[in-house]
């Protein structure tokens, strides 16, 4: 004989608890936090390199950068002028979780930052399940990928607040269709903000920088509103 005992317990409740603590701390410090997610090779590190270099006088920025192996990306970002760059080598794990970010954030002077980027592991599946205490997930896609990617990874595109389309200088050299990718993404998430740019030529970067400043200003304007996470 066996008895069925109803439970209602979130499997990732420990991650969610830690993410709530992180969110409260980020809010206390008034730092805007963006969780950058994409496939490998879409240009997360390149976008951050351009951003750190160009925005150094306008914003105080820090980066927590995750990679399965090597600290190569962290070195690139430190060289690009990252005020504070903390690497996380996951040693095989396919995503960052709130515990890893908590440890990395402990070594950052959050009080002295306006904006913190969390560069997630290149993967459009696993990172979507793990809240890192961020204000927003920003999903990158590049024109050398399929324009049906939002349809293939709906979970990530649904959970993101903005989509950045990179490598637009290469438009026309592949079958990537800008109108189609936007249509696909908006079908999954009608409130997704969309930016397009090229890290290589700089096209569209100004709009990205202005968008970042708006995120920082928005966070500053609601300092204690979200402490409960």
């Amino acid at each position: 004989m066996s008895t069925l005992i109803p439970r209602a317990e979130k499997v990732l409740s420990e991650n969610d608890r830690l993410a709530g603590l992180l969110r409260a701390e980020f809010t206390r410090c008034g730092v805007a936090v963006l969780n950058l997610v994409s496939s490998p090779g879409s240009g997360k590190t390149s976008l951050l390199e351009r951003t750190l270099g160009a925005m150094a006088l306008r914003l105080r920025m820090g980066v927590i950068v995750g990679d399965v192996q090597t600290e190569n990306d962290a070195r690139r970002l430190a060289k690009a002028g990252g005020r504070l760059v903390r690497p996380i080598v996951t040693g095989g794990a396919c995503h960052l979780d709130a515990r890893m970010v908590t440890e990395a954030a402990r070594e950052l002077a959050l009080d002295e930052l306006d904006l913190l980027f969390i560069e997630n592991v290149g993967n459009l599946v696993c990172p979507s399940s793990y809240d890192l205490g961020e204000d927003m997930k920003v999903v990158l896609i590049s024109t050398t990928e399929g324009d049906d990617k939002p349809l293939k990874y709906p979970g990530m595109f649904r959970r993101s607040g903005a989509m950045v389309i990179n490598k637009i200088d290469l438009l026309g050299t592949s079958d990537f269709d800008m109108a189609k990718v936007e249509e696909n993404a908006l079908a999954i998430n009608g409130s997704l903000e969309i930016l397009s740019l090229s890290c290589r030529t700089g096209l569209g970067l100004k709009a990205w920088f202005d968008w970042l400043e708006r995120q920082v200003a928005a966070k500053r304007d609601r300092p204690q509103a979200e402490t409960s996470g």
């Binding site: 005992i5 979130k10 499997v11 409740s13 794990a93 696993c126 349809l151 649904r158 079908a187 009608g190």
Partner: protein, 133 residues
């Protein structure tokens, strides 16, 4: 492929509960997985089996229920099942759709045997976490 990490989290939760209840034998664990979580049930089962092999949960079944994605249109208030991940209201075509279900990753029930297994040593709540024999 974070199914292994999810399976590990499920096992830890079940073990914590088992210890707090004085060491019951658990024959099945029910989990609800929303279709928006991108988790593959087969991989989760595989991970669960791999991690429980040779432990006290070796014969514990993982029973997975998939939860459809449902939403409510902010424009006309219509509730509907989201097909093919397209968050578009079938009534008015609106795209401002609030998620009602589909994000679940929950333990929904446990099946326990009515008697404690006499071969199992008593395990106290504060003993080694995640310990298996």
């Amino acid at each position: 492929m974070h199914e292994l990490a999810v399976a590990q989290a499920i096992i830890e939760k079940v073990e914590q509960w088992r210890q707090s209840e004085g060491g019951l034998r658990i024959s099945a664990v029910g989990v609800r997985i929303g279709l928006l979580t991108d988790l593959v049930p087969d991989s989760l089962e595989f991970g669960f089996e791999a991690l429980t092999s040779g432990t006290r949960f070796e014969n514990t079944r993982l029973e997975i229920e998939r939860v459809p994605i449902t939403g409510r249109c902010a424009g006309c208030g219509q509730s509907f099942t989201v097909e093919s991940f397209l968050f578009v209201c079938p009534e008015c075509g609106g795209r401002d759709v609030a998620l009602l279900s589909g994000n679940e990753l929950d333990i929904s029930y446990l099946c326990v045997e009515d008697h404690n297994d006499e071969h199992e040593p008593e395990v106290k709540l504060d003993s080694a976490k995640g310990h298996t024999t």
